[in-house]
């Protein structure tokens, strides 16, 4: 098997610094937004006592889910032994770490008391899935760092399979935990479901791979590296399979709900008369996030086109954000059913769909976290040899199984 | 090389020593103003209070909140009632009993994010 040569991005073009500058500006805006929210209190945001998790959480959950999913490429190489993916494993591990860092930054900065993060890391209630998640997230950094080390350090090569397996299992537990944050909520009709954990797993496959494809293509383009069709075709097919899997779980979830009389109201809300949430569900999640990517990836004419792959990945990401938005914010907007068969009204907005509009500080914080993830990735690619020198067909084929 | 290092060190320490030696006129941070306006003694000796008041607060707050043990002598309310400034009625602000030392020592004071720093209007209790 030919040895793959990895190299960091050589030179420092104007474009690279411009990219870092732009990302840096977004990061600063995010930090400014976090300070503004913390200093004045959350009343300056669009969040309220009915919608306590808003746009920052949409971004954070998306980034965290994508982070665990992006490690898939490395897992396919190390755990499932597909040598074709081996050259991509380092980038996959890097993105896992940076996306998670971005997501956690947003989550922590949005806390009501972000100065108490030390308290959060020293006081644990182990009945809380959230507490478990804190362990799983911090542990994920360590496990992926260990795995990356086995990939970088030639002497540790023999251990990379075991480290990869550990990382793979860890991220499955982590994503299950993230889905269970919502799945364990007993009293909310849109959430209370065991299906949410596996749904999050397949979402992570789909979102993670979409991000990976875009970053890979951008990094190779930007650094002048060859990227052959063999690699891209594999990724194209994989992405299509994952998008289809997400659609499957969404269908099962809603079909089951439609069968249960008690859930009819919430289904009507999401599928029919929920206003923005219905629009985001059908147009965003299903159409842009599901059907259009499938067409772009598998239609006979489009399937050889890199532009189509790019567009499909971008659509998956946009659809994914819509999906998380409907889940988190739509799920909170829908009123809790405390009194069956009664119309409910109160000064605390019981019984009505709660109003919410994303505010600028929230969006700035979420975008800032994304920019942080991308900036960390860009810097890491520059400093350490994460990218193979070439992913051209000839070079990769000899490494393929 | 060694002699040069010793010389530099001597100069630096001397300057630092002079800067520290003066009282209020050279310091850039106001020395804490501790005004005891009420009562003969605190609930514990001054030396102990200076050193351990944080540990006492941390311990007592859990006893009160989690276990429901309310000893009025050791309650934060009682501390504030006694130590609040006569003019402002508060333990914070200019020359505030708590904020004065905390600003000097540069230790952030979290208690009064939630607890009121103001003495209550009713007759304050004397430490028993």
């Amino acid at each position: 098997m030919a040895r793959v040569h990895y190299r960091e991005i050589a030179g420092a073009s104007g474009g690279f610094y411009a990219l870092l500058g732009a990302l840096g500006a977004l990061i600063l805006a995010g930090l400014g937004a976090a300070w503004y929210m913390e200093h004045h209190g959350h009343y300056v945001t669009g969040m309220s006592n009915r919608i306590v998790w808003g746009t920052p959480h949409v971004f954070a959950v998306f980034l965290i889910v994508a982070a665990s999913g992006v490690l898939n490429v490395a897992s396919i190489a190390s755990v499932f032994g597909r040598d074709l993916y081996q050259p991509l494993a380092r980038l996959s591990g890097l993105l896992a770490v940076t996306l998670l860092a971005g997501g956690l930054a947003v989550l922590v900065l949005d806390l009501g008391r972000p100065d108490r993060i030390i308290v959060a890391m020293t006081h644990y209630n182990f009945k809380s899935i959230f507490a478990w998640n804190i362990f799983l997230y911090t542990g994920f950094f360590a496990v992926v760092a260990l795995y990356l080390w086995t990939l970088f350090e030639r002497r540790m090569d023999g251990y990379s399979k075991r480290a990869g397996l550990l990382a793979f299992l860890w991220r499955l537990v982590l994503t299950t935990g993230t889905g269970s944050i919502f799945g364990f909520l007993v009293a909310r009709e849109p959430y209370n479901s065991a299906l949410l954990a596996p749904l999050f797993i397949v979402m992570s496959f789909s979102f993670g791979l979409a991000v990976f494809v875009l970053v890979l293509m951008a990094a190779c383009r930007g650094s002048g590296r060859a990227l052959g069709d063999v690699v891209l075709d594999r990724l194209r097919n994989l992405l299509g399979v994952f998008v289809a899997a997400v659609l499957y779980f969404v269908v099962v979830y809603h079909l089951t709900n439609l069968y249960i009389a008690r859930q009819h109201e919430v289904e009507r809300f999401i599928l029919l008369d929920g206003g923005i949430y219905t629009a985001l569900f059908w147009a965003g999640q299903v159409l842009v996030g599901g059907i259009i990517p499938l067409v772009l990836l598998f239609a006979p004419g489009a399937s050889r086109s890199r532009g189509a792959l790019c567009a499909a990945a971008a659509c998956v990401i946009a659809g994914g954000l819509a999906q998380v938005y409907v889940l988190i914010i739509g799920g909170q907007a829908y009123p809790q059913l405390m009194f069956p068969e009664k119309e409910v009204a109160s000064s605390f907005f019981d019984g009505v769909v709660a109003a919410y509009a994303p505010s600028l500080p929230e969006v700035a914080l979420g975008v800032g976290g994304t920019a942080l993830a991308l900036a960390l990735t860009a810097v890491a690619l520059k400093v350490l040899p994460f990218l193979p020198q070439s992913l051209a067909d000839g070079d990769v084929d000899s490494a393929a199984a | 090389m060694m002699r040069f290092a010793v010389a530099v060190l001597t100069v630096v320490l001397t300057v630092a020593g002079f800067a520290d030696a003066g009282e209020k006129q050279i310091r850039r941070v106001a020395v804490p103003v501790v005004k005891i306006e009420k009562g003969e003694a605190c609930v514990a000796p001054t030396v102990e209070m200076r050193r351990d008041h944080m540990n006492m607060l941390l311990h007592q707050r859990d006893r009160t909140l989690r276990q429901g043990i309310r000893e009025s002598r050791f309650s934060l309310k009682n501390c504030v009632d006694c130590h609040a400034s006569r003019e402002t009625g508060s333990v914070l602000g200019k020359d505030g009993f708590c904020s004065s030392c905390h600003a000097y020592a540069s230790v952030s004071l979290d208690c009064f994010e939630c607890h009121t720093p103001l003495r209550q209007a009713r007759a304050a209790s004397v430490p028993r």
Binding site: G112, L185 | G68, E113
Partner: protein, 241 residues
Amino acid sequence: MSPDRRQFLGWGAAAAAGTVFAPVIKLIELAQARSPQEAASALQRWGLLIDITKCTDCDVCVTACHDENGVTGHGRPGTDAQWIRKVSLRDKRTGYAQTLPLMCQHCEHPPCVDVCPTGASFKRDDGIVLVDKHTCIGCRYCVLACPYGARSFIHETVSGQKSDVPRGKGTVESCTLCVHRVDRGETPACVEACNRDGGKAMVFGDLNDPSAEIHRRLRSEPSTQVRADLALNTGVRYQGL
């Protein structure tokens, strides 16, 4: 002077007797109300019984609670904290209308306690569910988890707090069953106001004490929990729902 054998046996007997009788003495003590210097005990369980047939358009409970606990509004109904609220119900089929006060239900198995990552949301031994603001990081997960929407997040800087009721920006809060009053042997402010100025719909007491009015009424009259299907065993019970 060292004790002789007889003295020593005497002390031993006294110690043994004390160990045997201590629980009984504790029970008797509790029947006479817990002194503030004692810890809350699991032998007591505080609860509320609200007969909503006596509940009209009045909201003295809400005003009294927010007065007692220093909960002020800022003209922002979406983000202003509410510890208790009047909820209006109207049957979809029959049109029958009712109102009831809704606050933290002080469940025996509180979902908010289960989900809190730092353990700040906790249940005291005597059944009162509280938020430890010292440990609360303001993640708002408990606000999501509460089936009754009882929790509020403080969205702005707070000043002018009542000395018995600390409240601060960035933490979560809810009805404390006026724990500062209960520990003094008084009743919650809402109950006192209802009995003084309202419909006399609310009863407060120790659910475990057979001689308490609330215990006797729960035993002899029908009552329900809101969302009884969740099996949370709430401390607040309603009649007339």
